[in-house]
């Protein structure tokens, strides 16, 4: 019995490297498919980037839900009541804008550290469906891919209250190949107001890059 005990003890304590004991799927030749489908679905039912999100200003007076149920279909719901948010750049509260970005990194802490390069794939447009409402003097700005913390202006589209209603409408934003080189943010979604208003509520779905 004692021999059995010691044998088990030795067997149980054989601590090899993890690499020797587990198969890392990333080493499987099939981990990369080889070709490209030509469509990168960023959001459909859930965020499909593998990355995270970050608010551009403080999250005050906003509601953001990535699992909002719209007749059983999940969509992004973003609401701003027009109230003040803290702008980290100017270090002051303001009511002119607020927004968030879907980032390559997991959290804002690595927003500038982790990047992606899709320049070789040939995506040429950002497409999405949107519905909701915008108050007077408020616009919804959708930005294409860009580097975090950069002063470069990203490709963008601005929608005002005449552009969106509570019926789904699809939009397409042309994006430049250069913006897809080493970017940190897939998409930015921003409310902008020329004067204090009551913000808006938008629902976004089928957010994707397409060739």
């Amino acid at each position: 019995m004692k021999y059995l005990f010691f044998a088990l003890l030795i067997l149980s304590s054989c601590g090899k490297n993890i690499e020797e004991r587990l198969k890392d799927p990333a080493n499987d030749p099939l981990f990369y498919k080889g070709d490209y489908s030509g469509v990168f679905m960023i959001y459909e039912d859930e965020l499909k980037t593998g990355g995270g999100m970050m608010f551009y200003a403080s999250p005050d007076n906003q509601e953001l839900d990535f699992f909002y149920s719209d007749d059983g279909n999940k969509v992004i719901r973003y609401y701003w009541n027009g109230g003040e948010v803290f702008d980290y750049n100017s270090e002051s509260y303001q009511h002119n804008w607020c927004g968030f970005g879907l980032i390559v990194g997991h959290s804002w802490e690595e927003a500038e550290e982790v990047s992606m390069d899709f320049s070789g794939i040939g995506y040429s447009k950002l497409k999405f469906k949107v519905k909701g409402y915008l108050s007077q003097n408020t616009v919804l700005k959708i930005e294409g891919p860009k580097k975090a913390g950069s002063s470069e202006v990203a490709d963008y589209i601005e929608l005002d209250s005449s552009d969106i209603s509570y019926s789904w409408k699809e939009f397409s934003l042309p994006i430049s190949s250069s913006s897809l080189k080493d970017f940190n943010i897939y998409v930015g979604i921003i409310f902008e107001a020329t004067e204090k208003g009551s913000g808006g509520e938008v629902f976004i779905d089928s957010l994707r890059f397409e060739r």
Partner: protein, 627 residues
């Protein structure tokens, strides 16, 4: 009511006001209701905690949890806090066959702690509440009819009632459910009706099973002697399923038979039907390509069959079980063989082997493009929307491809008092029979296991008792290259007036969730996918004195989600000493040292020392009403 017998547990009462209030309350209530008995006990638990985080670490509150951050140059001192709570157990029987019991916890002051900071006292303080009704049971029992309301009261499974598919799992860990969620499952109503040949039970309520809401569970057993026929139905709303339609539920039905061919051979057969998300489309991965198909009625069926044979030759009992569960019925095919034989009067050897695999494997994480130029995710492990999954650990979807072997040896020279209390060969402290009277007894377990497939996304309960699904873009736990081992031995010794219990466990253990296998999480949060751990626990009780200690190297953190995330502790030392001054008064000290040797530590696993001084005092009233 001819005589009232009042028995104070102790004559020396320090908490006069408490006793006075309790006394008035009791006497009034008893006069109103109690015709047979009325018991009330108060448990006062006082503690003072001194603790210190190691230098170069900082501790921050995160809700009721704590996070530890490496902070170079940070110097820390001991700090202390004191707290107390009062737990009240009340029970009375106003008339024949009718029983009421309840447990209420009052937390006027909480003592801040590092070890297991997620606890209900902390939660009550955090939420600004003073008390919690932890458990209530109201029941009316006759020989044929039982009516019951329960909340926070454990219940057994229906396994021994012919439930082959675990429709009604046991719910024993009520303290843990409360501690980590602030809720008090199981909670519901029960009606059972028994005749000579049949047995009916209906249980329903808001959370009869932890994490399953608005459940209805029903069984009907017919006993024809050698033939038993069992019918089961289950309908609930599992937290882990994302139901977008408020009317959607998970419904399951089961019919099982068992037949005794002879005194040595018994066979059983069960069929289940779970029409979950029928006609819904799903993806599967085959030969490098994602394919699609649709859930059909046949995917909702499951079959289980087996036999128990007692040859009393070579082995005393052998049990063979085969299951085939359609995609939405469990997505699994499994064979389980177990058996036992006594080696001598005191020694029993038993073994078990399980071979299982999913009918359709997990969706692997695959990227478009090449390693040099990766594109977006092409295939991702299934999430909360899927009609089925490949997973492990939880009973519902424990279908990851695996070969598992277990060998148990039990030495018990007094088999009339069982070594185990509830389940045979489950080597856990809660499962030990306190009435075991052998001078020396032990149980040993050796387990070999190999998981040979990946997994879909895992879900887990967080510190608020909410289900969380892992996000997109993680690989899931990795496949094993070879077999892993685990070894456990529990030894119980009675030496004169000493009772000694030792528990040794060592071996390999895999993290349950995907984060632990992710390079980013490993580097940033110090998570690990695999541990090779040693754990030694010793408890000695001699008369009024109790001593306990633990020494462990590389175990998982104490919470279930620590194992999910791969949060390992480098070393734990703990010692405790307890002295029972009177039957109702005891005090003691406990020291715990949690030591991390790296600077990249899992967020919830710090490096600290903690002393806890405590005092428990019980006082109460026991009223008996005699005719």
């Amino acid at each position: 009511m001819a005589k009232i017998d009042i028995d104070f547990f102790t004559k020396k009462v320090y908490y006069k006001s408490m006793k006075r209030i309790a006394g008035i309350l009791l006497l009034n209530l008893s006069l109103l209701f109690a015709e047979r008995s009325f018991d009330i006990n108060f448990y006062l638990n006082y503690e003072t905690i001194y603790h210190k985080v190691d230098d170069n670490f900082k501790v921050v509150d995160s809700g009721i949890n704590k996070n530890y951050i490496y902070s170079p140059g940070e110097k820390n001192e001991f700090s202390s806090s004191s707290g107390y709570n009062i737990k009240t157990n009340l029970s009375f029987s106003p008339f024949d066959r009718f029983f009421v019991s309840s447990k209420i916890s009052f937390v006027p002051e909480y003592a801040d702690r590092f070890w297991l900071p997620v606890n209900d006292s902390h939660r009550l303080e955090f939420e600004g509440k003073d008390y919690r009704v932890e458990a209530t049971e109201i029941k009316y029992i006759t020989n044929v009819l039982n009516l019951r309301y329960f909340k926070g009261v454990p219940h057994a499974s229906w396994r021994y009632k012919g439930d082959l598919f675990n429709f009604f799992p046991e719910q024993y860990e009520t303290e843990r459910y409360l501690r980590v969620s602030g809720r008090t499952p199981p909670e519901g109503y029960e009606i059972s009706y028994r005749t000579r040949y049949s047995d009916f039970q209906l249980v329903y309520g808001p959370e009869v099973i932890w994490g399953y809401r608005d459940g209805i569970y029903c069984r009907y057993n017919l006993d024809f002697g050698t033939l038993n026929l069992n019918l089961f139905a289950r309908s609930d709303v599992p937290d882990y399923v994302k139901f977008w339609d408020s009317d959607e539920r998970m419904n399951s039905y089961q019919m099982s038979f068992s037949y005794s061919f002879s005194s040595q051979l018994k066979g059983y057969l069960g069929i289940m039907y779970r029409p979950f998300r029928l006609n819904e489309r799903y993806q599967y991965y085959e030969s490098g390509v994602l394919e699609e198909d649709e859930i059909t009625t046949k995917d909702a069926f499951g079959v289980k069959a087996g036999f128990i044979y007692n040859p009393y030759f070579i082995v005393n009992e052998i049990k063979l079980n085969y299951s085939y569960l359609g995609l939405v019925a469990g997505n699994k095919e499994a064979i389980e063989i177990s058996g036992y034989r006594p080696i001598s009067k005191s020694l029993t050897l038993s073994g078990m082997a399980i071979f299982q695999k999913p009918l359709i494997g997990p969706l692997p994480l695959i990227y478009e493009g090449t390693e040099d130029s990766p594109g977006p995710i092409y295939s991702n492990p299934r999430g909360a929307d899927s009609p089925f999954w490949v997973s492990w650990y939880y009973d519902d979807w424990n279908n990851r491809e695996a070969n598992i072997f277990k060998l148990n040896l039990l030495y018990d020279p007094t088999p009339s008092t069982w070594f185990f209390r509830y389940e045979p060969n489950v080597l856990e402290e809660w499962n030990l029979n306190p009435d075991e009277d052998a001078k020396l007894s032990f149980a040993l377990e050796y387990k070999l296991f190999k998981y040979m497939s990946g997994m879909d996304r895992f879900y887990y309960w967080d510190e608020n008792g909410d289900i969380v699904w892992e996000p997109y873009g993680l690989t899931g736990p990795w496949e094993q290259k070879n077999f892993f081992h685990q070894f456990k031995i529990i030894t119980r010794l009675r030496l004169h007036r000493c009772r000694i219990l030792s528990f040794i466990s060592l071996g390999d253990s895999l993290a349950l969730g995907s984060y632990a296998y992710d390079n980013y999480s490993q580097e940033k949060n110090g998570l690990v996918p695999l541990i090779n751990y040693y754990d030694f626990i010793l408890k000695i009780i001699r008369g009024r004195i109790g001593f306990n200690m633990r020494y462990a190297i590389d175990p998982w953190g104490p919470e279930e989600w620590h194992m999910v995330f791969g949060e390992k502790i480098d070393k734990i030392y703990s010692f405790g000493l307890n002295y029972r001054l009177k039957p109702d008064l005891n005090f003691g000290i406990k020291y715990i040292r949690v030591k991390e040797e790296d600077f990249v530590v899992p967020p919830e696993i710090g490096s600290y020392k903690e002393f806890r001084f405590y005092l428990n005092y019980r006082f109460g009233l026991n009223l008996k009403f005699e005719e």
